[in-house]
């Protein structure tokens, strides 16, 4: 009868023990205790495994200290428990062979049957893998940061030096123009040189835009999307009128965001000029712009009915510098490259959907 009434309790205890040992095994968590009164030390099998302690090794309270990289710190921790305290922390331990590793360990007072504190007990597990991985990542991040700094510096030097040469070339041609005899054969060469100089200067101008994106001070402020969009449209007013383009903007779902105003302006300008450049010759250009909030993400969708992009062939080139996405070979320049960099430098993203001869849709995730 007695046994029977104890059945549920026995089952419960068995379950508890089972779950505890499973957890310990899965997480490789060892248990230990040390009795100051008797000087005895105990460590379970998992703990022995972690420390690689031989089966016959006799652990006592003193030899236990040798498993800590910082012995003094271990003594302090144990004393704090004897005085009624407790600890949970990451600490450097040493296995039986002296290999140091990071462990997460806990300690609490050990009581005797009369509730007096007689020692310490707790659990510990190796977190060496995670700590090392964390350190490695940190070191890599540092390395990447340093490399990035060097690249920015390099880009500056290059752009600075190139600018000096380009500007001297311009000046030289300027001076040459004053003294040359017009109508001579040298005219052709003068014109070639002038064109080269202009191209060089404009390429440099583009490069400098790219270089400055990430070092420019990014002053984020509240901006009205529709206001900026209308400002940008004004810059294309005559062009849009001439090609009979129709532009519709709907900013009701999201009218104000925190952004760098100059970046937002550039986003609109690049997208509008891109639509004009790659408009269909068969029908007048239609642009539809709207803002949305989807899963808390703030979006801007910019659609046109232009010639579209063959996503199979050109998807990789859309945001690259100086790549042509036009069948006629007309250069796309760096507009979309700068746009993507600006959006990404503020933690956003740009996506494109397009079908050849159907139009293109850019989605900016702010």
């Amino acid at each position: 009868m007695i046994e029977k009434s104890n059945q549920p309790l026995k089952k419960l205890l068995e379950d508890k023990e089972y779950f505890l040992s499973e957890t310990a095994e899965l997480t490789v968590t060892g248990a230990y205790s040390g009795n100051l009164k008797t000087g005895e030390g105990y460590i379970d099998d998992i703990g022995r495994n972690i420390l690689d302690i031989p089966k016959n090794y006799n652990l006592d309270i003193h030899s236990a200290l040798s498993f800590f990289a910082d012995r003094k710190k271990a003594v302090e921790l144990f004393y704090s428990c004897i005085n009624g305290g407790s600890f949970v922390l990451d600490i450097e331990m040493k296995d039986y062979h002296g290999n140091v590793f990071w462990a997460k360990a806990s300690g609490k007072p050990l009581h005797d049957s009369e509730h007096n504190i007689v020692g310490v007990r707790g659990v510990f597990t190796s977190i060496d893998r995670f700590v090392r991985r964390g350190n490695e990542l940190e070191n890599r991040a540092k390395l990447i940061q340093e490399q990035n700094d060097r690249l920015v510096h390099f880009a500056h030097i290059v752009s600075h030096n190139l600018r000096s040469h380009a500007s001297n070339l311009q000046l030289t041609l300027d001076a040459f123009n004053d003294i040359r005899d017009k109508g001579q054969q040298t005219d052709i060469f003068f014109n070639y040189l002038t064109e080269i100089s202009n191209n060089l200067s404009s390429t440099l101008e583009h490069l400098n835009q790219v270089v400055t994106i990430n070092i420019e001070e990014k002053k984020v402020q509240q901006v009205n999307l529709e206001t900026i969009f209308k400002e940008c449209l004004l810059e294309f007013k005559e062009e849009l009128l001439a090609i009979d383009a129709k532009v519709r903007g709907d900013f009701t779902d999201l009218s104000v965001i925190n952004y760098v105003p100059s970046f937002l302006k550039n986003i609109f300008i690049q997208l509008i000029s891109n639509s004009i450049k790659f408009r269909s010759r068969k029908e007048p250009l239609r642009i539809k712009v709207r803002t949305k909030v989807k899963n808390k993400r703030k979006l801007l969708v910019f659609k046109d009915n232009g010639v579209g992009i063959d996503m199979n062939k050109q998807a990789d080139y859309i945001f690259k510098m100086f790549e042509s996405t036009d069948a006629s070979g007309e250069s796309q320049g760096i507009g979309l490259f700068v746009l993507k960099n600006q959006v990404e430098s503020l933690g956003g993203d740009v996506m494109v959907k397009s079908k050849l001869n159907k139009g293109t849709s850019f989605t900016i995730k702010f």
């Binding site: 500056h156 001076a175 004053d178 070092i215 001070e217």
Partner: protein, 135 residues
């Protein structure tokens, strides 16, 4: 008669300096053009100017990136004499190929600097500057 009496260019880029001299000569912009390759050379000149031993230039075109003593270092030394130099009618313009916005803002804020010009400094721009200062 020239537009200005005396001007000074501090720049280590010899080609640029030659071109500037050419333009200055051609349009008869100054009577006397003084050239320095770095801040250190220019500093000695300014010390004499401050002691009234040499006539002060009306305009100084200062480059930033130079060996030995760069434009920033020269500006730092001259900063203490800002009032004295301005009293002598010196207009100091920084002319650099830098497009670093922080550098441009820093230069413009400097008490001694009246303007920042990004290279290339065109002939037209140079004429404008000299005419403005002379008027």
């Amino acid at each position: 008669m020239s537009v200005l009496k005396k001007a000074c260019i501090i720049d280590d880029d010899r080609l640029y300096v030659s071109l500037m001299s050419m333009i200055v000569d051609k349009y008869d912009l100054v009577d006397e053009l003084v050239l320095f390759e770095n801040g250190d050379q220019a500093l000695k000149f300014f010390e004499l100017v401050l002691k009234d031993k040499i006539e002060a230039p009306q305009v100084v075109l200062l480059d930033l990136n130079m060996p030995i003593m760069n434009g920033w270092e020269l500006l730092d030394v001259l900063e203490d004499h800002t009032a004295a130099l301005q009293e002598k009618g010196i207009h100091l313009l920084v002319v650099s190929s830098s497009i670093n916005q922080n550098e441009i803002a820093k230069a413009k804020k400097h008490a001694l600097v009246s303007d920042f010009i990004t290279k290339p400094l065109s002939k037209t721009h140079l004429l404008e500057i000299f005419n403005k200062i002379s008027s």
